[in-house]
């Protein structure tokens, strides 16, 4: 830690000022519209928003999918991250590269791939029918399942990246130490790995949850107007109805959701057992 704070501020402030001035100010003005009605400060935008049953449905659906995607990616992410950290150097690099690869593909194209995969004649339905799980192809497209899968595929890499780096920063012999002290693998996970990687979990969880809330392409294409999420609803409000007040309300809700999720995760992570 250095003592010269002036230098510290000189280094930290440009980034903060940049974001504040060019980002937070315009966004803030827009968001403040949600608190205005007929030139007055008011919460009526919010009241109206939540009085619409559709909006409530979409709100809960968004929350549900966000939590589900974040939770699933955490579970899968731990498995994958653990497996990756246990690979030897070279192989680890290769597998890590494969995990990162999907990030390089345009989400537009990735989402369309799901249309092919999940269609009536797609491989998933081929498998379902082939295995005799169902007589006829199952409708998967334009369902919450499709949106869930699309989002999971989109954001799982971010979770894995966070967890892998957290695991790599774990003290070297912590797991062997727990083993020698009699812990089985489940206990090793709950008592050592989980508490030692919670920073990574918080970061991954925030990225995935926030990402799922604010993703546009995936719910738009895989869900369509039958499976609206807040972000697609927002787009509709702006683009179809030219209704900026609802749009700001939705945006504000999304921001509050992301922010509280982040706080909640941090709280859970730092809670003493």
């Amino acid at each position: 830690m250095f003592e010269n704070r002036t230098t510290g501020f000189a280094l930290a402030l440009p980034a903060a000022i940049f974001t504040a001035a060019l980002f937070m100010v315009p966004v803030g003005i827009l968001l403040s519209e949600a608190f205005r009605a007929d030139g007055q400060w008011s919460l009526s935008g919010y009241v109206e928003f939540f009085s619409e049953p559709l909006n409530r449905t979409v709100f809960w659906r968004t929350l549900k999918l966000g939590v589900l995607v974040a939770a699933t990616s955490a579970v899968i992410g731990y498995g994958a991250a653990f497996a990756i950290t246990n690979l030897d150097g070279r192989r680890r690099g290769q597998v890590f590269g494969l995990v990162v690869l999907p990030l390089m593909i345009s989400p537009v194209a990735r989402t369309y791939a799901w249309i092919v995969i999940l269609g009536r004649t797609g491989i998933v339905n081929d498998a379902i029918v082939g295995l005799g799980l169902s007589e006829t192809p199952v409708r998967l497209l334009f369902t919450e399942t499709a949106v869930f899968l699309g989002l999971l595929q989109l954001f799982l890499p971010l979770m894995i990246i966070s967890l892998v780096s957290a695991m790599e920063n774990m003290p070297r012999d912590a797991i062997p130490a727990a083993r020698v002290l009699g812990a089985n693998w489940l206990q090793v996970f709950t008592r050592v790995i989980l508490p030692l990687t919670r920073e990574g979990l918080v970061m991954g969880g925030t990225l995935v949850f926030t990402g799922s809330l604010t993703a546009y392409i995936t719910p738009a294409i895989l869900g369509g107007s039958k499976v609206l999420m807040l972000e697609t609803l927002l787009y509709q409000r702006v683009n179809v109805a030219n209704d900026f007040v609802s749009a700001s309300v939705i945006a504000m809700i999304l921001i509050v959701m992301s922010f509280s999720a982040n706080l909640l995760l941090k709280r859970i992570a730092t809670a003493r057992r």
Binding site: M1, F2, N4, T7, G8, F9, A10, L11, A12, P14, A15, A16, F18, T19, A20, F23, M24, V27, L30, L31, I76, G79, A80, F82, A83, N86, G93, L98, V99, V100, P102, L103, M104, I105, S106, V108, A109, R110, Y112, A113, V116, I117, G122, L156, S165, I175, W185, M203, T214, Y216, I217, E231, L234, A247, I250, A251, L254, I255, S258, N262
Partner: protein
């Protein structure tokens, strides 16, 4: 480690990779289709869609724009973010948490709102060009990643190395460039890659931030698909993915990324 659930973890890994990479394989193959629609398995093989990509004029302009935004937006974010990350890690600053929150804000704001806000309260009133607005927006979007990733590698870098450098005669600035930067190269590179792909694939922000003749590639692809639903978009995506991989690979070779990871 003995008794590590090797088999189980291998299986998990295989499934995860299939899930993550599967769609990519489908995109590559669908682009090779001889038919007129996205299909898997493709109806016959041909390179016609891959070739067609190069004949669509709008793709060229939007590709150039997206490339510009991704490269320079990310570099700008790093130029702002690396010093900030350094200050947040090495100085005991009052208000550090506030700075962290401000810088992280762009991640949690829905992209559509960002685009709309910048259009209505930056582009329109100040008359700055859409390209500049896009550049600023992309810089702000990438900044949180830059700060976070670089922070975490700084966090793992012992501060006493800098002290050693100073005792050997470096100024703080020299110590940063000679000792800190080389050791956080991997983090900086990772931030660059993450920023690059975030910016390059960014859709919602750019939905509104487009102007006559100014449109990012993903928006252009969406528009293209609204009209023509042929496999050339799959082909284009596959080509872009290969390009990204090549850029990462080159950057890795160039910066010696893996040596320090």
């Amino acid at each position: 480690m003995t008794g590590m659930p090797t088999l189980a973890s291998r299986v998990v890994l295989a499934l995860v990779l299939t899930f993550l990479i599967g769609p990519f394989v489908i995109i590559i193959l669908a682009g090779l289709s001889a038919g007129n629609s996205l299909a898997f398995p493709p109806d016959g093989l041909s390179l016609k869609w891959y070739l067609k990509v190069f004949t669509v004029e709008s793709f060229q302009a939007s590709f150039a724009l997206s490339m510009f935004l991704a490269v320079f937006g990310t570099l700008a974010a790093l130029a702002l973010g690396v010093p900030a990350a350094y200050a947040l890690n090495r100085y005991d600053l009052p208000g550090a948490e506030t700075v962290r929150i401000i810088v992280a804000a762009p991640i949690i704001v829905p992209g559509i709102i960002v685009g709309l806000a910048l259009l209505r309260y930056l582009v329109v009133p100040t008359g700055v060009g859409v390209t500049l607005a896009l550049f600023l927006a992309h810089t702000a979007l990438v900044l949180p990643y830059a700060v976070r990733v670089v922070s975490s590698s700084l966090h793992n870098l012992r501060a006493d190395m800098e002290e050693a450098a100073v005792l050997l005669g470096c100024t703080r600035l020299q110590a940063f460039f000679k000792v800190v930067l080389p050791n956080i190269r991997a983090g900086v590179l990772a931030a660059f890659i993450l920023g690059f792909v975030t910016s390059f694939n960014q859709v919602p922000v750019s939905l509104f931030l487009s102007g006559p003749g100014v449109r990012t590639l993903p928006i252009d692809m969406l528009a293209y698909m609204e009209i023509t639903y042929d496999p050339s978009v799959a082909a284009l995506s596959a080509l872009l993915a290969f390009l990204s991989v090549a850029i990462v690979f080159a950057a890795e070779k160039f910066l010696g990324f893996s040596r320090y990871v």
